[in-house]
């Protein structure tokens, strides 16, 4: 009983805080794939840029809350420009799956090196804006992690409402379902594509800001993190929002709880093993695709 209260429960709560951040990353990936059919290999770099933008804003004297509010807007701008100036150019070719994957891979390489050039390769620390801990059931939980969980969950719900319950979301889903038909109904499809990409990038950015006080900030911080997000998206089903949320929370819990029994070093191989098993059983992932289901 003590074990559950003092070992397992904190681990679950810590896992949940990381979990919502992973879900935000995975949502960005899965929405971009669901609508544009683009595997965004630069997603981990956009996550890192989100954290660095926050670092820069904090350095300019803004509070963490301003940084948290402004970063998604700046990231959306970066995403929009990237889509319009680069991805749009190869988007209409026959090989677009491979070409967009390669292109975003190239963009990731350049962005990572730009981060090294501007901020240096050494890790930076970001002070958590909320200190202290809250007592629940005789246990102390760090307030900042609780805040990350709460805000992350609200954003996830907001994304779901936006995609499935608003006319804007309907437009996006229509563009994913039948591009030509949607265009002929007067929807500016190309702008919808760019805006969707920008939205996904903004989600990666938010994830970067939220985790900056928990982990340290360094140029390659996105590499390992994006691998988890990719596993989540593959297991949940590419393009599925529901899949990303369920698989994201499930996988981070498995990773978090398993680290009590096995060395954390084996966390990634474990996740990957699960991914392989799921793919052998259901090659399309657990859930269907955005706009197609």
């Amino acid at each position: 009983m003590d074990w559950i209260q003092f070992v397992l429960a904190p681990q679950i709560v810590n896992g949940l805080a990381i979990g919502v951040a992973v879900v935000l990353m995975a949502l960005g990936l899965t929405i971009i794939f669901g609508l544009l059919d683009v595997i965004n290999m630069a997603h981990g770099e956009f996550y890192a840029i989100g954290a660095y933008v926050a670092v820069a804003l904090l350095g300019a004297g803004l509070t963490f809350w301003w940084a948290l509010a402004l970063t998604p807007l700046l990231m959306a701008l970066i995403g929009y420009v990237t889509e319009r100036s680069l991805i749009q150019r190869v988007f209409h070719s026959k090989d677009r799956h491979t070409l967009t994957l390669l292109l975003t891979f190239g963009i990731g390489i350049v962005l990572e090196d730009i981060l090294k050039l501007v901020f240096g390769a050494n890790p930076l620390r970001v002070e958590a804006p909320i200190s202290g801990a809250t007592e629940m059931l005789g246990l102390f939980f760090p307030n900042y992690r609780l805040f990350v969980m709460g805000l992350g969950a609200s954003i996830i719900i907001a994304v779901w409402v936006l995609v499935f319950r608003t006319s804007l979301g309907a437009m996006v889903r229509a563009a994913a379902f039948d591009r030509q038909m949607t265009a002929s109904l007067g929807v500016p499809v190309n702008r919808v594509y760019a805006a969707t990409f920008a939205f996904g990038v903004a989600l990666a950015g938010v994830s970067g800001v939220l985790l900056a006080p928990i982990y340290s900030v360094f140029p390659t911080m996105g590499r390992d993190f994006v691998l988890i997000a990719f596993s989540v998206v593959i297991i949940g089903g590419m393009g599925s929002i529901k899949g990303a949320v369920i698989a994201g929370l499930l996988l981070t819990q498995i990773q978090s709880i398993s680290s009590l029994f096995i060395s954390p070093v084996w966390g990634d191989p474990l996740l990957f093993g699960i991914m392989v098993l799921v793919l052998m059983w259901r090659p399309q992932g657990l859930f269907g695709r955005l706009g197609h289901a």
Binding site: D95, H97, L102, E112, L227, F230, D268, M280
Partner: protein, 343 residues
Amino acid sequence: MHEVTSRSLGHPARALHWLAGLFFGLALVFAIVAWTVGDVFFFRLGTEALIFAGLALSVDLLLGRTGLLPLGQALFFGMGAYVSALVLKNWSSSFWIAIAVALVFSAITGLIGGLIAIRSKGVYFALISFGLAQVVSKIIFNTRELGASDGMIGVPVAQIAPGLESGQPAGFFLVVLSILFILYAGLAYLMETPFGRQLGAVRTNEQRLSFLGVDPWRTKLAAFVGAACIAGVSGALYPMLRGFVSPELMFFQVSGNAVINVIVGGTGTLIGPVYGSALLTVLRSVVGSYTAHHQIVIGILFILVVIVLPRGLIGLAAPALQERLGRREGAVRTPILHAEHPQ
């Protein structure tokens, strides 16, 4: 004959053969010049470029033929390097034994990896091959017996023949060049066999291939194992050149660079990736001596090629060269080629 050849390659075949001859000829000229002036640095750099050209060939076999994009080919490259280093350190100093053991190991891991990765298509395949390499490199990174994050240093030189060992810059360069030539010529020949056509058919239309009574799964698995073997042999040469191995050899950087070399050189041309590796390895070294941020230069070059030249540098050079070769031979064959390759 040539008409059929050029159709199957999707590129003017004679120009590609000519460019391949040019590459190996230039490499020999380089060897003579460097040997005359007694150079060591450029021999080492050139040998490294050739080793990575082998890795690029294995990527092109998958990407250019079957249309499967491998993002984790460094897995087999690193596997070959580690196996070769272990053999040289603990068992035998024979070059041939190290290569043979590395080959067997790459074939086995290629088969296991293939059984996992071939189930998936398109972007799923790319991500799974990426994940496979990531996981294995993490395991190696954390295994103390394999030197963990430091890798293994002090790999002894390999004895290739009496009086010839991997420590000799010129001799080893020529050995690696010969191996690369055998790999290239073998692949170029294989592409003209029925099996080579099947590979192309997997890319074009997998379903129709199965209507012809050919199992696309088996074809893809064979290509995957073959590519793993080529990457493994290339990797086995690495510790002989540098005297060490490290987990970085399996990291995404290496897989990614191989893909970049293939795309910049020209996907599906076999000789393009060889040119790409040679050019970019030298470029990385030259730019790297001025700035630590050479990845920006490589990355921007790569982005430009993907957007502007999807067929790579060879895709740009080969059609023009083919026209010249055709003109020299007389006007009889040219119109047929033009009909098949509207420029």
